[in-house]
């Protein structure tokens, strides 16, 4: 995999260079750190608010305190008791994983087809790919539903992920941008060595676009994790629900009928969000740190 192993290894990062630069004063470093912390605080705020509100008793959910007093852990217990959370989580993980893997593989194939090869009609076809992003989903909802109905997949998890087997415009476009940034010489060298097109994709293109693939995986897993519309129209059985679909059931149950138990709804929101935070934390470390071990970066 050390395709360009001849190149110099630069151990320092860009920041380290700036940091070591003598012209930078302590003051500017401090300002940098303060700004960074401030902006980060802004970004964390919604999540902290969510957690804080979910731990409040009903009459205090929308008050302005950041620290719940008293702390109502019971909200979480209530959600746990009220609904089959584990089953829903299992469905969500299954759907998310299949959706993400399917989209990574199919989009990588298709994007490679669009970026490496030159063939008549390529730009037109690629225009069509982009075009599919532009038609609002609301109007194709019913025709697509009918396709799945014909395939006998209503009230099953299949429609929630299987369309990803055929690629998805956003990710095809994203992967194509990454493939285009690879030096063409790499592939030509492999061709001279007698590699087939499939081998070129598998042995050269894939390892060099790991970052992109993990980005796609995380994006799609997240999208699938939050997806509500499909699970709303395709799933009828309680036990097939995904977490967002379950969250809607919880919202309808606790948010209406004069009960207005928003603290339960918010606790459920936290439960739904936490796994994504963990996944992202793990995933980003992998794709950010893992990259430095691939050949091109030394």
């Amino acid at each position: 995999m050390n395709i360009e192993s001849g190149k110099t290894v630069i151990p320092t990062t860009f920041w380290n260079k700036i940091y070591n630069n003598n012209t930078k004063s302590i003051a500017s470093k401090t300002i940098y750190i303060l700004v960074l912390l401030f902006v980060t605080a802004l970004f964390i705020l919604p999540f902290l608010w969510l957690i804080s509100a979910s731990l409040k008793i009903r009459s205090e959910v929308f008050n302005f305190e950041w620290i719940p007093d008293p702390v109502a852990w019971i909200n979480y217990a209530k959600v746990w008791e009220a609904v089959p959370l584990l089953t829903w989580a299992k469905n969500s993980v299954l759907v998310g994983f299949l959706a993400a893997i399917a989209v990574v593989v199919s989009c990588s194939l298709v994007a490679f087809g669009f970026s490496y090869f030159r063939f008549p009609g390529r730009d037109f076809l690629f225009g069509l790919v982009l075009g599919t992003m532009m038609l609002p989903g609301a109007v194709t909802l019913i025709p697509v539903y009918m396709v799945w109905d014909k395939l006998g997949q209503i009230n099953s998890l299949t429609p929630l992920w299987a369309q990803n087997l055929f690629g998805s415009a956003f990710y095809i476009f994203l992967m194509r941008q990454f493939f285009l940034s690879l030096p063409r010489e790499l592939f030509e060298a492999a061709r001279v060595d007698g590699a087939s097109y499939l081998q070129m994709w598998y042995k050269i293109a894939l390892p060099l676009t790991q970052t992109a693939m993990i980005v796609v995986f995380i994006f799609e897993f997240k999208a699938s994790w939050a997806e509500l519309q499909k699970s709303l129209i395709y799933l009828q059985n309680n036990m097939l629900f995904t977490l967002p679909r379950g969250l809607k059931a919880i919202l309808d149950r606790f948010g209406q009928g004069g009960e207005m138990q928003w603290e339960i709804v918010l606790a459920a929101s936290v439960i739904v969000t936490i796994p994504m935070v963990i996944l992202f934390f793990m995933g980003q470390r992998y794709f950010m740190e893992g990259i430095s071990t691939t050949g091109r970066k030394g």
């Binding site: 893997i101 909802l141 299987a162 129209i233």
Partner: protein
């Protein structure tokens, strides 16, 4: 290098998993196998049941066709005890029916895609507002046959609710809850501003204007207490009715939005925002209320009075049991009690595969028996918690008689006992928006008009003239097919 290899492995496992799952979905999905097994089991059970029934029928031959099979219900959530107890009543009465409930309130996309593709649920639960929209387009079944076969006494339901689910002379729904509006008054504010409770007289609009000014409190040029919140845009129909008018003709065909009575009502209600510094300041302040909390606008003395739905009394009982609250009926300018009723309904979509069960279900869960059992359960729960039971407001008169006559006991809280008394009394003076096939567009047209006036973009007359045009176009179009 190592990372790269790991990654390849990861990829291979992924592809393998994916292929496996495709094969599974395509050839022998486990879920299908399970379902088949379940169906087989079910059939065995059903055969046993049928045998039992056959045995029973030998004895009781008078029973009409037994209610069996699966009943798919869409839009209903068994969230609280009021829902659960009533569903249990049905299950007890008709144990042969297998209930399949898709949780969550009815979503238009969910229902419409299902109907468009022929996957119709057997029974739906939805807002009475949208019922006529679906009924006039042939998506729902008229219930005359069902009422006759299940022998449902329609006189037990409140008239205005029944009217809302009657489209072009045919009944399409069985009404459930009955939400009504009364005026909630903050006694603390009255004392502070030196206003007598008798002065909160909604029949005298000059007085309301005066009281609104008195109750409004400004501190450093900013409003810190709203005097009388007219609750626009949503309660415009109430103001119009109080002014002796209507926004839509009884047959649901003609919009009456540019009627001078409507214009006058809107002008009056909009003007109530002025003492607080106009709509924007008014809204900005209202959005800061701790509406569901213990520091709500009553406890924090941020509001004089406003018309509100009765469920908010339930909220107040829970969040601030010591609130100094008075509940008054909303009055017409003639001095008659009036209230605007909304609520949900049951309905059977065309294509329902189990009419008998659907019909029996509607009858059972809205029966006095089921309602009172549910209310009793809630009352017991409240007693156990040491909180106040403020009643269940149903569209079934008989049920309400029992709930408020027998189950409801004086709670010891003068404020809430008095409140409940008024709420019960007001129920008999309700009106509803007439059924029409363009209900949503109609509502949108007048709400937009109100908002344009509130934003200062148009006068009431201009805005309502435009809304009249939009609403009538929508109505004509919807009725024309």
């Amino acid at each position: 290098m190592l990372e790269g290899k790991k990654f390849n492995l990861f990829l291979k496992v992924g592809i393998l998993l994916m292929l496996t799952s495709i094969i599974f979905t395509a050839c022998a999905p486990t879920t299908v196998v399970e379902t088949v097994e379940k169906v087989v089991e079910k059939e065995v059970i059903q055969t046993q049941i049928i045998e039992q029934i056959v045995e029973q029928e030998v004895v009781i031959t008078a029973t009409p066709s037994p209610v069996t099979g699966t009943l798919n219900v869409l839009g209903f959530t068994q969230g609280d005890e009021i829902a659960k107890v009533r569903v249990d009543t049905f299950i007890e009465k008709f144990p042969q029916v297998e209930l399949v409930m898709t949780e969550g309130s009815l979503d238009a996309q969910q229902f419409l895609t299902a109907v468009a593709s022929g996957n119709v649920p057997d029974l739906i639960y939805t807002n009475r507002d949208v019922l006529s929209t679906y009924a006039t387009r042939g998506a729902l079944l008229p219930l005359d046959d069902c009422v006759a076969r299940q022998d449902i006494d329609m006189t037990q339901y409140r008239e205005s609710a029944v009217k809302q689910v009657t489209v072009a002379g045919s009944l399409y729904g069985i009404p459930e809850f009955f939400n009504i509006i009364t005026v909630l008054v903050n006694d603390k504010a009255l004392a502070d501003a030196g206003v007598a409770i008798e002065d909160i007289d909604t029949s005298d609009w000059d007085k309301i204007k005066e009281v609104n000014e008195k109750l409004t409190r400004m501190t450093d040029g900013k409003v810190t207490r709203i005097g009388f919140d007219p609750k626009l845009p949503e309660f415009l129909p109430l103001w119009v009715a109080a002014n002796g008018g209507a926004m839509l003709s009884d047959d649901g065909r003609t919009a009456l939005l540019d009627d001078p009575i409507v214009v006058e009502a809107l002008e009056f209600a909009v003007a109530l925002h002025e003492p607080a510094g106009g709509r924007q300041d008014f809204m900005a302040f209202r959005d800061t209320w701790d509406f569901f909390g213990s520091q709500n606008q009553f406890m924090s003395d941020q509001l004089g009075a406003f018309p509100m739905e009765q469920w908010y009394v339930n909220v107040l009982v829970g969040s601030s049991p010591d609130v100094e609250l008075a509940v008054l009926p909303f009055l017409t300018r003639e001095g008659e009690i009036i209230t605007y009723a909304t609520g949900n309904t049951w309905a059977i979509p065309r294509g329902s595969k189990n009419l008998d069960a659907a019909c029996a279900f509607m009858k059972t869960v809205t029966s006095p028996e089921a309602w009172t059992a549910a209310a009793q359960t809630r009352a017991d729960m409240r007693a156990e918690e040491g909180t106040t039971f403020t009643g269940v407001y149903t569209a079934n008169k008989l049920a309400d008689q029992i709930i408020f006559g027998e189950i409801m006991q004086p709670s010891g809280s003068e404020v809430f006992d008095a409140a409940v008394k008024v709420l019960v009394e007001v129920q008999d003076y309700a009106f509803s928006m007439p059924a029409s096939p363009a209900g949503s567009e109609f509502k949108q047209a007048w709400q937009d008009a109100v908002n344009r006036v509130l934003a200062g973009e148009q006068t009431a007359a201009e805005a309502l003239a435009q809304a009249q045009q939009e609403a009538q176009d929508a109505l004509d179009k919807a009725w024309s097919r």
